[in-house]
C-alpha cells in the first residue's frame, strides 16, 4: 500500500532516535555497572559484580532507597486523597466552569519545577511565611525548625507538584463513565453515596491506578526537592546517584544503582499496566 521510500522515511528517524538516545546510553550504563574505579580515579574496564555486592552490603544505599519509597508512597497517597475529590467535582459538578477549572489544574504544570520548589522554601523556612505567621498569632515563640529540611518538606512539595499528575488520569476515567449508568443506579434505588461506592469508584479505578503510578514513580526518582528542601534526613536515592556521578566520581556504582532503580520502576509500571488491563471493563 505504501511505497518503500515512504516506509523507510517514516521508520528510520524514530529508529535512529531510539538507538542513539535510548539503547546506546542504557547499554553504556549496563557496561559501567560491571566496571570499577581504581584508587587513581580511573575506570577499570574489567567485568565484576562488586558494585552490586556493595549496593546490598553498604547500609546507607538500601536505607535511602527504602526512605525514598516511603516518601514516594506518602506523596502518592496524599495526591490521591487531594486529587480524587477534585477530579470528581470537576467531572460531575463543575457544570459550565469545568473547562476553566481544568485549565487551573493544568497551569501549574507550565510553571518551572524549580520555582515551585523555591516557593515552598520561602514558605517553610525559619524566616518564612508560615513561621512568621505562627509567631505573629503566638502559636509558637521560636521558628518551627522541623518545617524545612525534613522529609515532611519533601513530601509536601512533591505532593504539590505531582497532584495534577494524579488528577488528570482520574478525571479522564471519570469522564468516560457513561452518565446513564449513574441514572440507572439511582433508578434501581441506590443513594448518591451507594452509587459512588458501587459504580463510580470501581469504574474509575484504572484512572486511580494510573494517577498513583505517576505520583509514585515521579516522586521516587526526584532529586531536586530533597536537594533543596530535604536536608540530611530527607536525602533520596537520586541524590546519591547524582553525587556518585559527580563529586564522588564513582560512575560504576552510580550506574549499578541507576539500573536497580530502572528495574524497580519497570516492574512497577508492568504491574500497574496489567492491573489496569484487568480493571478495564470494556
Amino acid at each position: 500500500m505504501f511505497s518503500r521510500a515512504y516506509k523507510v522515511a517514516i521508520t528510520v528517524p524514530p529508529l535512529l532516535w531510539v538507538i542513539a538516545l535510548l539503547l546506546l546510553p542504557y547499554a553504556l550504563l549496563l557496561c559501567y555497572s560491571f566496571w570499577s574505579v581504581s584508587a587513581q580515579q580511573e575506570i577499570i574496564h574489567a567485568w565484576n559484580l562488586d558494585n552490586y555486592r556493595q549496593l546490598f552490603r553498604v547500609h546507607v544505599y538500601l536505607q535511602t532507597l527504602f526512605r525514598s519509597m516511603w516518601i514516594a508512597a506518602r506523596v502518592m497517597i496524599f495526591s490521591l486523597l487531594l486529587g480524587y475529590p477534585l477530579a470528581y467535582f470537576l467531572s460531575f459538578h463543575a457544570g459550565r466552569r469545568k473547562d476553566f477549572l481544568y485549565q487551573l489544574v493544568i497551569i501549574p504544570l507550565w510553571v518551572s519545577y524549580l520555582v515551585r520548589a523555591y516557593a515552598w522554601k520561602t514558605i517553610l523556612g525559619s524566616d518564612g511565611v508560615l513561621n512568621t505567621l505562627l509567631q505573629y498569632v503566638h502559636l509558637t515563640r521560636h521558628p518551627a525548625e522541623f518545617l524545612l529540611y525534613s522529609p515532611f518538606a519533601v513530601v509536601l512539595t512533591l505532593t504539590h507538584i505531582y497532584t495534577p499528575f494524579a488528577i488528570l488520569p482520574i478525571f479522564a476515567s471519570l469522564e468516560h463513565i457513561p452518565r446513564n449508568l449513574i441514572e440507572a443506579s439511582h433508578d434501581l434505588g441506590a443513594s448518591s453515596w451507594q452509587t459512588f461506592l458501587r459504580v463510580v469508584l470501581p469504574l474509575s479505578l484504572p484512572g486511580v491506578l494510573a494517577g498513583a503510578t505517576f505520583a509514585f514513580v515521579l516522586s521516587l526518582g526526584d532529586f531536586l526537592a530533597p536537594l533543596l528542601l530535604g536536608g540530611p534526613s530527607g536525602i533520596m536515592i537520586s541524590n546519591i546517584v547524582v553525587s556518585l556521578f559527580g563529586a564522588a566520581y564513582n560512575w560504576p556504582l552510580g550506574a549499578a544503582i541507576s539500573l536497580c532503580m530502572l528495574v524497580l520502576i519497570l516492574g512497577l509500571l508492568f504491574l500497574s499496566e496489567s492491573l489496569e488491563k484487568k480493571w478495564a471493563f470494556r
Binding site: 457513561p178 439511582h186 433508578d187 470494556r282
Partner: protein, 375 residues
C-alpha cells in the same frame, strides 16, 4: 388553529376510559406537565393517565419531547410545572431512588464491571435484602427472560438482544409498579426486534404491571400498545387505542404519522363536501374541512359498494409490498392518491377507483403538508 387537548371527544374518552380498565384504576396520573430547556419549550401542558396493568406507548418523532416526558416520570428531569401522582402519591418531589418506578434505558446501561447476575441483583443489594432472597429473585428474573445460562457473564460478552433481556430483568426484579422503557428495541436488528416486541408484550401481560414505552416507530406502537399517546412538538396530539387512532385519527398529523393516508382538503356546503371533482355527503357545518382516506379503503371499481364515490385516475407507479401493492394514482383533477390493493391485480394505465363516504374521516387540520397537487 385550536389544537388544545381535551377539546376532542375521542381524546377525552380515551383518556378517562382506557378500553380494558375502569377509570378509577389509574395508577399514574400526569397532570399539566410543562418543561423548557432554556427558552425552548419541550413539553407543554401534558396530561395523561396510565391504568393499572396498561401498556401505554408514548409515540413521537425525534424532538417531540417523548424521552423528556419519560425522564420526568423517572425523576431524572424536573418538570417546570405540573404534577405526577402514582397511586395517590405525588412523585414530583421524590428523587429517582425513592420512586417505585424502574427504567429500561435505550443503551441498556448495564454496569460493565458487574456480571449479569450482579447487574440484576443491584437494586436488591442496595435495598439490603438477604443474600438468599437476592439469589432466589435474581434466578427467577433471569429465568423469566431466559438468561439463566449467562448469569456469570460480563455484559460486554453478550449480544445486544441478550443485554436487552438483562436490562429488563434488572428492572423487573425490583417489582416496580410501573416500568418505563426508553426506545429499548431501537438498537436491535429488524427480525430480533419483531421477536422482542412479541416477547415484551406477552411478558407484560403475564406479570400485569403497567408499562410506559417510548418509541418513534409507529408500527411498534401499534403492535404492542393498549393505548398510544402521540406527542408532537411537546404537545399531545391524540391518546387512543391503536385501532381507534388508526381508524379515527383526530388530526391530519395523526392520520399521516400513523400509517399511510390520503388527506383531502374539501369545502363543505349544505352537507356536501367537495374536493376537486369529488363530492360526498357529510354531517358537518359549512366551511373548509380535511378528510383522511386510508389507502386500503380505496378500491378498484370491481368491488364497489352502493355509497361509493368514484374517480378515474392514471396509475403513476405500482410498488410490490408482499400481500398488497401500493399504487400512486393521479386523478383527472390532479390529486395524487395512494391506494393499497391486493397484490398482483393487473390494472390498465387508467382505471376507475372508488371509496365510500364513511371511510373519509374528518380530521382537524394540523397545518401539515398534505395531499400533493401536481402542476
Amino acid at each position: 388553529m385550536n389544537v388544545a387537548k381535551g377539546t376532542n371527544p375521542e381524546t377525552q374518552l380515551a383518556m378517562t376510559a382506557p378500553p380494558t380498565n375502569p377509570p378509577d384504576a389509574s395508577l399514574l396520573i400526569i397532570s399539566k406537565i410543562a418543561k423548557s430547556f432554556g427558552k425552548k419549550p419541550v413539553l407543554r401542558d401534558i396530561s395523561l393517565s396510565v391504568a393499572e396493568g396498561e401498556f401505554l406507548t408514548i409515540l413521537g418523532e425525534s424532538g417531540s419531547g417523548k424521552t423528556t416526558l419519560l425522564r420526568i416520570i423517572a425523576g431524572f428531569e424536573n418538570a417546570d410545572a405540573g404534577e405526577i401522582l402514582m397511586a395517590g402519591e405525588n412523585l414530583i418531589r421524590l428523587p429517582p431512588c425513592k420512586r417505585r418506578v424502574n427504567t429500561v434505558f435505550q443503551q441498556y446501561a448495564l454496569f460493565p464491571h458487574l456480571s449479569v447476575s450482579e447487574n440484576v441483583g443491584y437494586g436488591l443489594r442496595v435495598a439490603n435484602l438477604s443474600k438468599a432472597e437476592i439469589r432466589t429473585r435474581v434466578d427467577e428474573a433471569l429465568a423469566m427472560v431466559k438468561m439463566g445460562a449467562y448469569a456469570n457473564s460480563k455484559p460486554s460478552k453478550i449480544s445486544g438482544g441478550q443485554q436487552q433481556r438483562v436490562a429488563l430483568a434488572r428492572a423487573l426484579v425490583n417489582r416496580p409498579r410501573l416500568l418505563l422503557l426508553d426506545e429499548p428495541l431501537s438498537a436491535l436488528d429488524a427480525s430480533l426486534r419483531r421477536d422482542m416486541q412479541q416477547e415484551l408484550k406477552s411478558l407484560q401481560r403475564e406479570i400485569g404491571i403497567s408499562f410506559v414505552f417510548v418509541t418513534h416507530d409507529q408500527e411498534e406502537a401499534m403492535v404492542m400498545s393498549d393505548r398510544i399517546a402521540l406527542l408532537r412538538q411537546g404537545e399531545l396530539e391524540q391518546v387512543a387505542s391503536p385501532r381507534d387512532i388508526y381508524n379515527h385519527p383526530a388530526t391530519s398529523y395523526t392520520a399521516q404519522f400513523i400509517g399511510h393516508t390520503n388527506l383531502l382538503r374539501a369545502d363543505v356546503k349544505d352537507g356536501i363536501a367537495r374536493c376537486g371533482l369529488l363530492s360526498w355527503p357529510v354531517n358537518l357545518a359549512d366551511g373548509p374541512a380535511v378528510f383522511s382516506v386510508r389507502p386500503e379503503n380505496i378500491r378498484d371499481v370491481t368491488d364497489a359498494r352502493s355509497d361509493a364515490i368514484s374517480f378515474r385516475g392514471k396509475v403513476l407507479n405500482q410498488a410490490f409490498h408482499g400481500a398488497t401493492d401500493l399504487l400512486r394514482v393521479q386523478a383527472n383533477d390532479g390529486l395524487i392518491f395512494v391506494i393499497r390493493l391486493a397484490s398482483g391485480k393487473g390494472l390498465s394505465s387508467e382505471s376507475e377507483f372508488v371509496f365510500s363516504a364513511s371511510d373519509a374521516v374528518a380530521v382537524r387540520d394540523s397545518a401539515q403538508p398534505n395531499v400533493e397537487r401536481e402542476g
